[in-house]
């Protein structure tokens, strides 16, 4: 249920706050990206969302991001500022993005493991993060208070980053 915060107390037992949702655009073509290891739409959307929510990448406990291909998780996680540029691959390999790691990325298994049902993918990410923040996810990230979803369309032509938080 999506409702105004003033009504959520009486309608929902465990409300989750939408702290920010930002949508941006980028080039519709691979050849339109000057840096082939970054999607500018993601970088812009993340900056807008962090600013609107008043948080930084370090504050995020759990992320469902758009790993439509294996390389995409590395690009996305760096674009979202979850680790420094160039460190995404090493963080994944060392388990720093796994359960119990510095930031938990795609505890759902991500897009590749669910077949990426395009339109449903984004809604699925929100569902996953909401359950994580309610603390009732079968694959629960312990103590998750702040979650983020990242959805990228086409070849980086559109991006939406949403930051959700457990209601205080």
């Amino acid at each position: 249920m999506l409702t105004a915060k003033s009504l959520s107390g009486e309608l929902v037992q465990t409300p989750v706050d939408i702290l920010a949702s930002a949508q941006t655009r980028g080039s519709p073509r691979i050849a339109g990206h000057p840096d082939l290891c970054s999607f500018e739409a993601t970088v812009k959307a993340a900056a807008l969302a962090y600013a609107a929510a008043g948080v930084t990448a370090r504050d995020i406990d759990v992320v469902e991001l758009h790993d439509c291909f294996s390389i995409a998780e590395i690009i996305d996680s760096e674009d979202l500022g979850l680790m420094s540029r160039g460190a995404g691959g090493a963080w994944a390999a060392e388990g720093r993005t796994g359960m119990g790691g510095d930031v938990v990325i795609n505890p759902s298994g991500g897009l590749l493991s669910k077949g990426h049902p395009v339109g449903a993918t984004g809604v699925g990410q929100i569902y996953e993060i909401v359950r994580q923040l309610r603390g009732d996810h079968p694959s629960q990230v312990q103590g998750a208070r702040l979650g983020m979803t990242h959805n990228l369309g086409g070849t980086g032509v559109a991006c939406t980053v949403t930051i959700l938080g457990r209601s205080a």
């Binding site: 073509r29 691979i30 050849a31 339109g32 000057p34 082939l36």
Partner: protein, 108 residues
Amino acid sequence: MRVPVDIEMARCVACGHVDAITCVLCAKCLGTEMAAHAVPGRGRLATWTTIRRPPTRFCELAPYYVCVVDLDSGPRVTGRIDTLAGAKSGAPVMAVPCESGIRLFTLA
């Protein structure tokens, strides 16, 4: 010496902006008059990937190689490259004729 085939692009009649694909609207000034604009198919290989699981209509071709080329005239384009033998980032490439209308490159 081999001569590369030209690559078809679009050029805005109003502002001169060159777009790497043929299109009907200028991305720079939103002008609606785009004229055909050919540039020499000569550039440098930026990167490439091997397609091993193609969509159905390209099944016969697999594995094939998709590349990104920075043309000497400026724009960056995608295309295919005929072989990866000797391919490295920055290597000079040229466009060669391809009957299917796909931009096909070869190492120059």
